[in-house]
């Protein structure tokens, strides 16, 4: 067990809590940088995809995991980011200028969506975002001038720093750099007063309001920041996919993002990466399941949604803190050995909390 002896207040908000953290995270970054030496193009593509999912996951995590606002329509932000990026690139705007514009546009879209529906809480918000997701998908289909409609929109792959996006090693590094940047931005937002306000809103709106947090402002801000991260992920996703069609950004993608943060662990940035790894390898996992099941079941297309649902239900019921929560438990077990108590993480018994006045 490591005890951190605090001598300065600033230690409380340090990014790395102790030297062990510094060592392991530096090592992780080194390993990630060195990966292209070892892996071939296919795996680099997969890992780039996982990086993109992680960035989108950070966006949704800030909204759902830290501010406690459920969004069932987050694929819309991915779509906004992807289409804006593709549109800008098509019109000759270079990559380094397009990305900031995408981030600003998604931020504004998030704010515009956030303002009218931030009066809603809980389920109503979930329903409203679900409806918005559908409307956004429909807009992507019908606004042909901008999105190409059902025909789709090819994404130009311009040169950037003299390299091409077709080069999977280069694309991997781009994704990695954006993931690390997004991670730093998210960590810094979350340890600033803004992030503290988000967490306060999640834990108790009334308490947060009593302490002077402007609920409306911070909820809209959370929506906007979340939109910006997800929009950035959308821009990278556009490069990854190469050809945008409206039905990519459907409800299933929104729910996949939710699965990502639930499986990874609500309320932790580590969780977004764990969840992204899980979701990224889910198709392979399903393929493996297909091999082991009798062919009459294994070859069915319905297997995928079924496993998807089973995993979701399993995590909600038995491991609500997700993979990161399980990792914390294992870590604590070894740190406290042999005095670890199961009860440390026991769910408290609660009565139904009423939303009714």
């Amino acid at each position: 067990m490591r005890f951190i002896f605090k001598t300065k207040y600033s230690q409380d908000i340090n990014i790395a809590k102790h030297n062990g953290d510094r060592f392991w995270y530096s090592l992780l970054i080194l390993v990630m940088v060195a990966l292209p030496l070892v892996l071939d193009d296919f795996y680099l593509g997969e890992i780039s995809y996982i990086c993109i999912l992680s960035i989108a996951g950070i966006g949704l995590m800030i909204l759902s995991g830290y501010t406690g606002l459920a969004s069932l329509g987050h694929a819309a932000f991915l779509g906004v980011g992807a289409y804006t990026h593709a549109f800008l690139l098509t019109n000759g705007i270079p990559f380094y200028a397009s990305i900031p514009i995408v981030i600003i546009v998604s931020f504004l879209v998030g704010a515009v969506i956030g303002i009218p529906i931030l009066r809603l809480t809980g389920m109503y918000l979930a329903i409203a975002t679900l409806a918005l997701g559908f409307i956004a998908e429909h807009v992507f289909i019908k606004w042909e001038h901008f999105t190409g409609g059902n025909r789709g929109l090819p994404v130009p792959q311009p040169e950037f720093l003299g390299m091409s996006f077709y080069d999977s090693v280069f694309f991997y590094y781009v994704c990695l750099v954006f993931l690390i940047a997004a991670m730093f931005a998210a960590i810094n937002i979350l340890r600033s007063p803004t992030g503290r306000a988000f967490v306060a809103i999640r834990d108790s709106e009334i308490a947060a309001q009593s302490l002077g947090v402007n609920l409306g402002l911070y909820k809209a801000l959370s929506f906007a920041i979340s939109g910006a991260f997800t929009g950035l992920a959308g821009a990278l996703l556009a490069h990854y996919i190469g050809y945008l069609a409206p039905d990519i950004f459907n409800i299933f993608l929104s729910l996949t993002l939710l699965l990502l943060i639930v499986v990874g662990g609500m309320g932790s940035l580590h969780g977004t990466v764990f969840g992204a790894i899980f979701v990224g390898f889910l198709p392979q996992l399903i393929a493996i399941c297909r091999d082991y099941l009798p062919s009459s079941i294994g070859s069915q297309p319905g297997l995928e949604p079924m496993l998807f649902g089973l995993i979701l239900v399993f995590f909600i019921l038995y491991e609500p803190l997700g993979i990161y929560g399980r990792w914390m438990k294992i870590k604590l077990f070894f740190e406290l050995f042999p005095t670890y108590k199961r009860q440390t993480f026991k769910k408290q018994k609660v009565f139904t909390k009423s939303d009714r006045v």
Binding site: A70, R119, I127, L132, L310, I316, F351, R356
Partner: protein, 293 residues
Amino acid sequence: MQLIQLVIDGIASGCIYGLVALGFVLIYKATETINFAQGDILMLGAFVAYSLIGILGMDYLTGFALTVLIIAVFGFFVDAVVVRQIIGQPAFATVMLTIGLGFIFRGFASIYWGTDIFSFSTPFSGKITEFNGLIISYVNLSIIVGTAILMSALYFFFTFSKIGVAMRASSENQLAAYYMGIPVKFIFSLIWSISAGVAAVAGILLAPITLVDTSISLIGLKAFAAAVLGGFGSIPGAIVGGIIIGIVEQLCGTYENYLFEGVREISAYLVLILTLIIYPRGLFSDKAEVKKV
């Protein structure tokens, strides 16, 4: 005349939305959770009816009754085994849990019944009646009459039967109901079973129009609009909201040229968003006011 014709068609499809919304409202009133799997339960109802009537060749009414019974029992166990475990956790957990359940049901249906589109014969298929120049199909008539019968049955059940009163008591105040000796957990599971049964009725009535396949579970999402418009705590509100949504959808579909292209598919969601922004209490809300910031 064309307008009245459209309104009648709208009422018929609106009744289906209303019935599904009724399922949301019953569960919400009692347990303050929303069942996102309601549309998938409707789909299961339609598939079970197809198995009983279409494959096993049962009589329509027997098949109807048996389907509702099977789905109601199924709904009871969904609550008793799964949903009950997360009572008291944040709303987010329930939302995710029921979405997950919905995926399981849909996956199961497409594995067990396949992804083809099925239909089964009903006594109403293909018959129409004319009234003052209005054409009303028997299918639409069966939906409207079926909804009316179900609504009055539920009204009498909740007003006069002992279990119905116990249900109302539990949804008013769980703790007080518990002290009065009402088995609250059992009652909640029973409410789930009624709500599933209502969804099954909607599924069977809908089957002749949309035919049976896994995509009809999307009805559940449009029914949210009906429930929200009706005030999410009110049983008549759910039906009225459903009928309004149905009519709006028909009108938007017909007068699409005057509005914008493709307005029909999203009209329900637009109504939903507008209701939530402008008048989130809904039309018929009793006391369950939406918390405002």
